[in-house]
Symmetry: C2
Subunit: 340 residues, 2 copies
Amino acid sequence: MNRTNPTPTMKDVAAEAGVALGTVSKVVNGLPVGESYRVRVEEAIKKLNYQVNSYAQGLKLNKTRTVALLIPNTTEPFYGSLVHHINISLLKRQYRMLLCCTDLHGGLEQEYVNMVQQNKVDGIIGLTYDPNLKVDAGTPYVSIDRSAGPGVPCVASDNFAGGQLAAEKLADLGCRKVAFLRTGSSLANEPNKRKAGFENGCLSRKLSYEMKIISDGEPYEEFDRFLISHMRDGKLEFDGLFCVTDSLAYYVLKVLRRLGLRVPEDVQVIGFDGIRHLGFHDYVCSTIVQPVEEIAEMCVTLLLQENMPVKPPLVCLPVAYAYGGTTAEGREGDAPLSRQ
Amino acid sequence: MNRTNPTPTMKDVAAEAGVALGTVSKVVNGLPVGESYRVRVEEAIKKLNYQVNSYAQGLKLNKTRTVALLIPNTTEPFYGSLVHHINISLLKRQYRMLLCCTDLHGGLEQEYVNMVQQNKVDGIIGLTYDPNLKVDAGTPYVSIDRSAGPGVPCVASDNFAGGQLAAEKLADLGCRKVAFLRTGSSLANEPNKRKAGFENGCLSRKLSYEMKIISDGEPYEEFDRFLISHMRDGKLEFDGLFCVTDSLAYYVLKVLRRLGLRVPEDVQVIGFDGIRHLGFHDYVCSTIVQPVEEIAEMCVTLLLQENMPVKPPLVCLPVAYAYGGTTAEGREGDAPLSRQ
């Protein structure tokens, strides 16, 4: 790597062009100035490879070309993937991302919102859990997965359709008695619709089902107990399981292995999210894939679309089923991706 | 969520205090002003909950309390974990992170550096691959995993010790003939020392070894061919494999399964990084764990330590071995973590 001289300032441009600092400022800010001056300043800018300080410009224009993203962490794959694609969508529009990871302590979401508002970010995209979060009416804001009240668009997967698709897939693949396993936030949010969608799918396909739902603080071992309580003579009463996330499916697959059950022969398993092992290998399980790239692009589009008189309150994007080795229809190997 | 009124500005404070805007500015910037004015401004600041715009202040002080992080992506778990911990380390010091994901196209690392320098970030932390990357001498800079030239501290795991530890572990666990499998960048970098460390460990333990090293563009199937070429009568000639990353180990474990080989009974496998499935479940394999939290903290400490006359050119942080089911010493279940 080479260490170069400091980047040129507006003063350097003025010296190079032989004009006053104010003249450079006018040219940079698009204000009228004599043609010969404008040419000299533009040539100096080109020669020195001077780039406008967009923070300084932002303070004048009330723009910083910076968007804050509030998200719990970047260590869980679904969040890591969202961060990645929102970053790409912002970059395409010459916007930068201020990353605010919020799962360190309870009040951090509000602290971050206060901080970034004071610093004039052009908007906030948030996947948040604080139901009382306060965001200025003047700050463009888009929420992921949770409604944040009137005037704030919420972008999510079509979680209801995803739950329904999981039930229909299990029915199509020959299941007769299935269960839905869920853990997670008790807050009203879009992912909670997976349950209603699944129930709807079971009812329409006349599929017998049970639910095991635990709340955030409870231990995963509750699922072990639930499954064990449904064992009869070494067999599980269910031949299909729908897990609310791939992460839960990963845990459940290990429990099933310990119980001596074969997947998919004895019981088929479908997860939700579309996570791949280590970021880019095979799917963790057969799964309902969230369209992360489309969610990211939609959030950024809605956030920066200033001349949109009415913003949609809720945008649900289509999910897809992908085979990942834990259902009966495919073979081992690369998972095909079938659109819904 | 509640939508509140816009955050108060300096003008609001001036109006509330009944003083001129310049007086508020002086108080905020710590300049001398009559005591009664100072008290009135401070009371107005408190009443309105006005917070100083740190970007605006940053332009004056040449500080923005913002650090840019250049990293390939947030979808691969090692990068996602680094982003997470660097964010925490910055947050503890009231710094924000500007996230710059760079693996979209070749020139992006330099574009990002140019952009953030123009915007007066207080420093850059980079895990970069462009050997010709140019960073201003005046911009504090810390590099991860790759030396970026004189004056730029490089922070990494002790990769040599990690390679050596992998060889010693395989020897301790009864291996007699082992192989090192590597893919990755051909650039000079710290992770490349895993190879030399492994060789050193094999030599000191009189462990017979081979190497299979492929470069970035080549297909992983080269490893299939290498392993198949070392099969004799349904048995692999190696009883231990050291894979340069957990991601490669994950791939190799699948190849071994296809070849009908049992892990760890027929062949033991050690990876590198310390990745857990889906962010927080069990280890992908027995592995040399990188101290991601310590790397993050060291990068931020070195970056922001302004009054340090000489910065260390290379900091290597200790790694640890963790059992993850693919070596012979343990049982199934939670992996214990043994410090080196």
